[in-house]
Subunit: 450 residues, 2 copies
Amino acid sequence: MMEFELTKEYRDRFQQALDEKDDDFIIRSLESVQPADISALLHEFNSEESKYVLDRLGSEIGAEIIRDLDSDSRQNFLKIYSPEETAHILNFLNSDDAADILHELAIKEREEVLAKLDAELRLQVVDLLRYEANVAGGLMAKELIKVRENWTVNQCIDEIRKQAENVDKFYAVYVVDQADHLIGRVSLKNLVLANANRPVSEIIEDEEVVSVETYLEDTEVADVMQKYDLESVPVVNVHGQLVGRITIDDVVDVIKEQAEEERQIMAGISEDVEEDDSVWRNTRARLPWLIIGILGGLMNAKFMGLFEGELARLTAIAFFVPLIQATGGNVGIQSASIVVQSLANPGFLTESLLPRLGKVFLVAMLNGILLALIVFGANILLFTEWHLSLTVSVSLFSVVLFASFMGTITPMVLNYFGFNPALASGPFITTINDLLGLTIYFLTVKFLLL
Amino acid sequence: MMEFELTKEYRDRFQQALDEKDDDFIIRSLESVQPADISALLHEFNSEESKYVLDRLGSEIGAEIIRDLDSDSRQNFLKIYSPEETAHILNFLNSDDAADILHELAIKEREEVLAKLDAELRLQVVDLLRYEANVAGGLMAKELIKVRENWTVNQCIDEIRKQAENVDKFYAVYVVDQADHLIGRVSLKNLVLANANRPVSEIIEDEEVVSVETYLEDTEVADVMQKYDLESVPVVNVHGQLVGRITIDDVVDVIKEQAEEERQIMAGISEDVEEDDSVWRNTRARLPWLIIGILGGLMNAKFMGLFEGELARLTAIAFFVPLIQATGGNVGIQSASIVVQSLANPGFLTESLLPRLGKVFLVAMLNGILLALIVFGANILLFTEWHLSLTVSVSLFSVVLFASFMGTITPMVLNYFGFNPALASGPFITTINDLLGLTIYFLTVKFLLL
């Protein structure tokens, strides 16, 4: 691969060129560099300098680079662009990317930019702006090649010629009837191979073309495209009319965002935050869950306070609190993540709840018995206090059973009520489980030991 | 979308058709159903019944359905196929899918099936079988459209005609020189639009076509394809000769697997296990990490035992162990997951370590001070024991600082030595952090309180 390597020397040389406004060096040295690599270089310079470079490189490359920025950086960067300049950049983009960028602007600026867009793009973008970002309508682009069912292959190719300027990537031609209802698709490959005078209706591939409605959620769009192994999917409105198409690269972004969101939820980070965000934003994103953890910890303390007498009589009871809580936490997170995985790879006829719970129960029994035996053995060796050892093992077994049950049920319930099931692996549920584990342990102590 | 709905009634009716060997019903009712949906239906029946259905539907559809099974189910299912039958199915697949399936077979069976493959596919598959599954060579397919630089557009289209039977999805034509070195690519779109007599060398899009070497890791292939927004990427050997291509749907699978692996690591599940695996496999996948947690818990107990005297004098010390440990755990996981995220979205010039740690330190200071103040206030209200309250707050502050540092450093170190950095959010590191948090707390108690 022609790899562009960003060295410290090149960076310094480039800075010098910027300081000296050495346009010649700037243009020449970036001539054969991919936009994605230019973007990486520009991260080294401030907004004014970056804009200076983009202005030298021409609007098409500039548009591509701005499109590929992450949302935060872009919002920041576009602040130094006038509405005319922004509109000029957007004119080089597909409708879906232009709409995404407009979504990020303040309402007044958005209107100013919209007013200055090319007429055709403006119409397309206005149509897209009404969709939420997380439904098919918000993912789709308006640019597509649409042909009538009664056309010949030759007419289709003429249409492609006409549209080619606007549509930079396409894999298929969509066939519609007089009223724009989607009838089928023809792959570019079959179009290339077919006789020029053949009616396109004869080379339609699937009579039952897979499409998605505008209101379908982005994660469901991703599921559909993966299930049917599609590189692009047409989007239809409630009347079945073709209104746009979604390509697989958009779906890749959806899948990555999903994974990132899940990671943040599992780690207890409450807003979309990255390492290079400000100290304050990083702090704020973490605080809520930490405070919930603290409140849980205080409740734990209060609860243990109820057993002050018992603890004073036998201090060793306290020694096993970390063991009980850590195991409960680990079992709970394991169980939850297995359910989250099942929910992420939706199966077939949904298995009924009872056999699933039965299996979870069996796994928990096995794990619980094995762990309880290990702990009992270790305790006899390490502490030689068989009464307490038995109590710890019994409550450990109960905690494993209980945490398995909670870990399995919680993501299902969350999912049922429309929350992200990964929350069940996050600190909120963990905090509750800690408290419940402690309760089980002290109740066992109360009844078995003292 | 033409949605196929799998109802209980249909399932029962289908079972009846199977029992009665009512081929007519089977074929007719599945005629216009997508293979992915047929696959869902077949999950309801046993292997023999499923094979019976596939045999009725014809090998092409059968091949597609078998290709889309998950690896475990497929291995199981193919057990009832003879080598001849398996070879017959594989002949309908692309080389990459055929190689993946052969990889799953026992060595003897693999050789038997290989011997019965079509000659061309056999050559391709043999070439692919030597690559590990997780490098570009293991992801790529041999099927691609390759043209010589001195050909005309018309000659290229003739070549496509010849190849079209073997290559079912393609987005571009790759241009090579006499010695098969990759020179460039031409999108199908530009080929459709170009004049038939133009030399293909004139419509090459990027002189510097992005390609990957056979030995590049799958996750890096995914990064390259996303960075340069590619729907397919050519694969070259060490001499720069074109040997295959990878399409974006393979990369979608890589990204999903990565996310799944990370989830399992974070949850402390040690092998690739799903809800529908056996009870024993589910138990075995969870046990190792649970045992590590147990060992950590026992060490916690042993450590607290060293302070038995102090605990006996002031039982309330024990009350705050869960608070300290939970907060340390939460802070550690938050910090680790932010670093994991940075590593997953590789930035530009790697920022040097010191400023990054400086920032982590600032965030930790802020969080630590705020949490310590909250806990101090709450403790004064709830327990009115200001000596102990102060001790708890001071050690909480230290634990937050310390866990931030550990959480940040651990994934970096793991990554540096080639381990998955997500391990830092898993139970092993959490267990160590628990123990260290306890140490900090009891040392603070020792020096400040007693």
